[in-house]
């Protein structure tokens, strides 16, 4: 669970991290103010199966693609990328067409998110 960019709103990311842990997943919470480079590196170091990005600052159309680009560059594009925050529907559609697996917006429950991860994220080979 990562907080890219300068956005400091971490209430949601922390709740989701905890809910996923309660749901039996191993979760690494990166903390705030991560660059896309730091996130991609952490994902490789920790050998994760998925990355959740939380972005409420409006910078999602820059940060999601940059994370995706770096994952591809580092040869780990099979990591499932999903996320949420303040992301308008039209941007959400664009991001999904670019390869983001799912975007959760205000009102999504932790139950939905845990269920989605369980059903859609496979452990990487």
């Amino acid at each position: 669970m990562a907080k890219p960019g300068l956005d400091g709103h971490d209430r949601g990311a922390k709740i989701i991290a905890r809910a996923l842990r309660d749901g039996g997943f191993e979760v690494i919470y990166t903390g705030l103010h991560q660059t896309p480079e730091m996130i991609a590196e952490a994902a490789i170091q920790e050998d994760v199966d998925a990355i959740g990005l939380s972005i409420l600052s409006g910078a999602h159309m820059t940060l999601f693609p940059e994370v995706m680009r770096l994952l591809k560059e580092k040869g780990v594009e099979d990591v499932s990328l999903f996320g949420g925050g303040i992301i308008p529907d039209e941007d959400s559609a664009k991001l999904k067409s670019q390869g983001v697996k799912e975007i959760f917006t205000p009102g999504a429950s932790t139950e939905d998110i845990v269920k989605w991860v369980r059903e859609n994220v496979q452990p990487r080979q």
Binding site: R11, I15, T30, G58, P88, P106
Partner: protein
């Protein structure tokens, strides 16, 4: 004559009770009824407005003398866009300005920094130098309107820029009125905007308190904030306690430095959240005033009544707004704003209905402003002071919240004060726990949000939202680069060196910073000095 106990056992028991939990939003149990037996007599009684301990209001005549300041938080894009929004809001009857800066500005990065990519002008206005500040206040007389600036770790630079522009408008600093948020303790607890660690951050805050006390005595150098603490998930009692504990820490730091409490405390101001539980919020505001007055008198020996008055801005709770059925937010905001007025705030921002989706459109912010004006002009609640004073429920809740908040404050005292409490993650973890608890309650249906977990609709009707033009970022980057090329870089370098020296020597930073800003040193450059001299704080990531 019936007593409450008899009434509960003999009469209420025969009535029905719905199968729900009767608690406040913060899980404080609420009784079926309050009566005189619930109001604890105390030495001060309920008191009178304008008299210690100010439970009923800080000023003698409150809204009969002067309405609260209607001060809508605004900022987006470049300085020109925000300048236009400022002028629009003033033309619609707002009487004070409140500035929202973008994330790069707030975090101490210039628009042309690598870390700023994608973030320029998105959450607020981009200000990298005094030039941007000049554009922001173009044709706005700083001497005649008070401005609040919501900025924290880079506050020193933004205050300097504002004062430099005031100077250029011919306004003496002694006449500049406004507020700069500059509350670093709550950043580590809740809002999470920082450059350097807590101790040097506190030093910078105290430098600004000291500087303003001497040079800009009408300016509020800190806005001790509960808003962000609450928005991060704290309960109302935690908001009350942690905010006041932060305030005590600032007062202590200034006193430790040798300042006399009455020399600076009159210009400390506060900033509360106004959440949805009507009774709880009114009680919170009243409890806060009483607590601060008593603590300032008892702990710090304040003699000037102004040192004991908790004067506050307030904002309706952003976190209560829904993306679903956004028109409902107009109703939420109206009720929250009313709680603020009945709670006696000095300044108020009302959220716009579309703020879960984007920054407010002109139409949406106008409705938000009209909400305040309707309360002021049409409801009659301003005709008498503290109209709910003496209400059994309100007085009982005020007492209860004060007592519970003081428990937290005692705990923090035992830890050695707020700075130590922050180092061990105490408020951060309390907040994370409260936030998780609330989310769980929401998902279990124990708490209801209309339109979200009850009364939702299968298809939402989309509304118009504000879009920030991507090109603005590039324009600002070019502007900043051009300014850096054209200024006297030797003079800037010298001025920045002086700032670094002041960081080391302990000399008040504001003098050298004002000088550097006059010479066109930027937000990012001065923040970089802080990074180099004080170190960079990394999020401990408490979950």
């Amino acid at each position: 004559m019936t007593t409450k106990k008899e009434w509960l056992e003999k009469t209420y028991k025969n009535g029905k009770e719905r199968p729900v939990r009767f608690t406040t939003l913060s899980d404080m149990p609420i009784e079926p009824l309050y009566d005189s037996s619930d109001v604890k007599p105390n030495d001060d009684g309920i008191g009178y407005p304008g008299q210690f301990p100010y439970t009923r209001g800080v000023y003698e005549s409150m809204y009969r003398g002067r309405l609260w300041t209607m001060r809508q938080f605004a900022g987006f894009g470049l300085a020109e866009e925000t300048n236009a929004r400022f002028k629009f809001l003033l033309s619609q009857g707002q009487d004070g300005l409140s500035t929202a800066f973008d994330m790069p500005t707030l975090m101490g990065y210039d628009a042309d920094h690598e870390r700023s990519i994608g973030e320029v002008g998105r959450e607020g206005v981009s200000v990298s130098s005094a030039h941007d500040m000049a554009r922001l206040f173009d044709e706005i007389p700083i001497g005649k309107v008070s401005t609040s600036m919501t900025v924290n770790c880079s506050a020193s630079v933004l205050l300097a820029a504002y004062l430099v522009i005031a100077e250029r408008q011919g306004v003496p600093w002694s006449q500049v009125s406004g507020t700069i948020q500059n509350d670093m303790l709550k950043e580590f607890i809740a809002q999470k905007e920082w450059i350097c660690p807590p101790a040097p951050s506190l030093r910078i805050v105290t430098d600004m308190v000291e500087f303003c006390a001497k040079q800009a005595p009408r300016f509020h150098p800190v806005s001790i904030s509960g808003y962000h603490i609450r928005e991060a998930g704290a309960t109302a009692v935690q908001e009350l306690a942690f905010t006041i504990a932060d305030g005590l820490c600032y007062v202590q730091d200034a006193v430790d430095r040798g300042m006399h409490v009455d020399d600076f405390a009159p210009r400390l101001s506060f900033f509360w959240d106004l959440h949805s539980d009507f009774l709880e919020e009114i009680a919170k505001l009243r409890a806060g005033r009483r607590m601060w007055a008593r603590l300032m008198k008892d702990r710090f020996g304040a003699k000037n009544p102004k040192s004991m008055m908790l004067r506050t801005h307030a904002q309706t709770a952003g976190v209560s707004l829904t993306a679903q059925q956004p028109m409902n937010n107009v109703v939420r905001v109206a009720i929250q704003a009313l709680a603020g007025v009945l709670g006696g705030v000095q300044s108020l921002h009302t959220n716009s209905m579309d703020e879960t989706l984007a920054l407010p459109t002109e139409n949406a912010v106008m409705v938000a402003l009209r909400t305040q004006q309707i309360i002021a002009e049409e409801t009659g609640v301003v005709n008498t002071i503290d109209p709910l004073g003496g209400s059994y429920a309100i007085e009982a809740l005020t007492d209860k919240m004060e007592a519970e908040a003081m428990e937290y404050i005692r705990k923090i005292d035992e830890m050695g004060g707020m700075l130590k409490a922050i180092d061990r993650g105490y408020p951060q973890l309390e907040i994370a726990e409260a936030a998780f608890n609330y989310q769980r309650q929401l998902e279990q249906g124990v708490k209801t949000v209309v339109g979200v977990n009850k009364y939702s609709v299968p298809e939402e009707i989309p509304i118009e939202t504000l879009k920030i033009n991507h090109e603005l970022e590039e324009r600002q980057i070019q502007r900043v680069r051009k300014m850096k090329r054209e200024r006297n870089s030797v003079a800037v370098k010298e001025a920045l060196k002086r700032v670094a020296e002041a960081c080391r020597s302990g000399e008040n930073l504001m003098g050298p910073i004002c000088d550097a800003v006059r010479k066109d040193a930027t937000v990012g450059e001065i923040s970089d000095i802080y990074r180099a001299e004080f170190g960079v704080y990394r999020d401990p990531g408490w979950v």
